[in-house]
């Protein structure tokens, strides 16, 4: 077992007075792909967004308990959210490139971090685009608008944009749910490559996807973490009946 990267202890999350996450305790290892599965509204995306504090943007969200990343409690009062989000990047369900050039999209993160030198930016942009497996497709048109790319390319560009900030963890919220099968398989290949350098946490609706790409799988249901284990075990011999019912398609 590798080193643990993220762990939570008895974490609860409320939307106003509604309990959305109930007593979540989990240990997510470093440089592995961890998948969160479960029916819509089970809290898996909410939990994912707690890991880089994107829930802070939503009014009325209250969190109890602790979330540690590298043994630092990220909900401590003295935590700088901006620094946290540089360390914990996020790729969204719907690709959301800025209405800027391909180059400027990737350079955005480094620029706000104060990288000004053109040569250094060029290197960061190229590396990020290569790591996101999109360099070959865009290298001759870096100055073109990102809006002209296909959906799958846009999503890989968004991954490149996230990687350009040099995060340690990449959170992915159903990154391929809006894409065609070919683009999806490219994203999946990419995720498997990325775990060499990054800790990946991915929310997915697609159980085959979780089975294909993840090392560990967590099954959420009604705001609770029902079962968390090696992906192989979850999909072949789960301990809990609810997990088995879900993965065999009996509900959800």
């Amino acid at each position: 077992m590798t080193r643990e990267k993220i762990h939570t202890e008895n974490m609860f999350l409320y939307y106003g007075s509604k309990l959305a996450l109930n007593d979540i305790s989990i240990q997510i290892p470093e440089k592995k792909v961890t998948a969160f599965i479960g029916p819509s509204g089970c809290g898996k995306s909410t939990f994912l967004r707690s890991l880089n504090r994107m829930n802070d943007l939503i009014d009325g969200v209250k969190i109890e308990g602790n979330i540690f990343i590298d043994d630092i409690n990220i909900y401590d009062n003295n935590i700088d959210v901006v620094t946290l989000r540089k360390k914990v990047g996020m790729v969204f369900q719907k690709s959301n490139p800025f209405a800027k050039s391909i180059y400027e999209n990737v350079a955005y993160g480094p620029r706000i971090n104060g990288v000004k030198e053109k040569k250094q930016l060029d290197e960061i942009v190229e590396t990020a685009l290569r790591n996101a497996a999109i360099w070959e497709e865009v290298k001759d048109r870096l100055g073109d608008s990102a809006m002209g790319l296909s959906g799958g390319q846009q999503q890989r560009l968004c991954i490149a944009r996230t990687l350009a900030v040099n995060p340690e963890i990449v959170l992915m919220d159903e990154p391929a749910s809006a894409l065609d099968p070919l683009s999806t398989s490219k994203i999946e290949e990419l995720i498997v490559q990325l775990k060499e350098k990054y800790t990946i946490v991915i929310v997915t609706h697609n159980m085959q996807q979780a089975a294909r790409i993840s090392d560990l799988t967590a099954f959420f249901y009604l705001g609770e973490l029902i079962e968390f284990d090696k992906t192989k075990k979850i999909f072949t011999n789960p301990d809990k009946k609810q997990t088995e019912d879900y993965i065999t398609g009996r509900f959800g």
Binding site: V82, R85, F92, N96, P97, F98, A99, K100, Y108, R161
Partner: protein, 302 residues
């Protein structure tokens, strides 16, 4: 059979009535524009646009009024656009949607928008000239009269207040067209809220901010009442060279020529010419605002 025939007649009558009132609107516009264009077109010449009035304003051009109008709207925009944009940014990016403060600001903006323009004029006279100006004279000039009287600065600031709601509302609308996803993307990359606003939200809504500016300018270019007591002059022999100078404006020039002129009939061509210039100016401004707004909508649907 007969009944349905009656119903039919009634339907036709109602449709006819609504159609004719709609056509009446078109007729009014056509007549108005035609009269102004026919009356003014022969007057328009390079000379008319670039020279000073002559012979007690019965001859010559309207250059000081064009210059004054331009200067007025520029100073006004310099004041109203940043102020309005910053307010709109507060409302869309910082204030919680239904908070007391946001509601109060929106109420104030709506109130500003419905205050009759002459009241702005009186406010400008009382606040900028009598209060701020006089204080400035007493403090810095030992009571010598300089700022405590009408001038282009006070007139522009008064006009800026009048156009502020236009700016705020259009900028707010423009900021809202920037998808929440993009804000989230920027924040997730470790940008601060301000970096997100400055590098993603404002560039994404710049054409909307431009639209707001143009609409404000077009409103300001046509209004007369707010500047009546605060800086516009019947006639000045020189162009304003300092913020404490008085100035001439197209709208007020039309009023002066038609009511205060020694010989109204003789100045008729100048009145038409001036009206045509003012009308053309506001048309051009409004059309560019519409074009910009159309482009934003198109971008939004893409």
């Amino acid at each position: 059979m007969i009944k349905s025939f009656k119903k039919n007649i009634k339907g036709i009558l109602i449709e006819g009535l609504t159609l004719s009132s709609a056509l009446l609107i078109i007729a009014i516009v056509v007549v108005m524009v035609t009269v102004i264009v026919i009356g003014g077109k022969d007057q328009i010449s390079w000379e008319f646009l670039t020279s000073f009035p002559e012979d007690g304003m019965t001859k010559g051009g309207i250059f000081p009024a064009i210059y004054g109008t331009a200067l007025l709207v520029i100073i006004m925009s310099v004041a109203a656009v940043p102020f309005g944009t910053i307010t709109a940014i507060y409302l869309t990016e910082y204030a919680k949607e239904n908070s007391v403060i946001a509601k109060t600001i929106r109420f104030a903006v709506r109130t500003l928008a419905v205050i009759p323009s002459i009241i702005y004029g009186l406010f400008g006279l009382g606040f900028f000239i009598k209060f701020v100006g006089t204080q400035m004279d007493n403090t810095f000039l030992g009571g010598q009269l300089k700022w405590g009287q009408p001038n282009i600065l006070w007139a522009s600031l008064t006009m800026a207040l009048l156009t502020l709601p236009v700016v705020i509302v259009s900028v707010e609308e423009a900021l809202k067209t920037v998808p929440k996803d993009l804000r989230a993307a920027s924040l997730a990359l470790g940008a601060t809220k301000w970096q997100t606003i400055w590098k993603v939200v404002i560039p994404g809504s710049i054409s909307g901010i431009m639209t707001g500016t143009i609409l404000a300018v077009s409103r300001g270019a046509g209004e007369v009442a707010p500047i009546l007591f605060t800086g516009v002059a019947y006639y000045v022999a020189t162009l304003p060279s300092s913020l404490s100078d008085q100035f001439m404006v197209l709208g007020y020039h039309i009023y002066v020529m038609t009511t205060q002129s020694a010989n109204v009939d003789k100045t008729m061509p100048i009145q038409f010419g001036t009206t045509l210039v003012l009308l053309a100016l506001t048309f051009i401004l409004n059309i560019s605002a519409i074009v910009l707004r159309y482009r934003i909508r198109k971008k939004k649907t893409n």
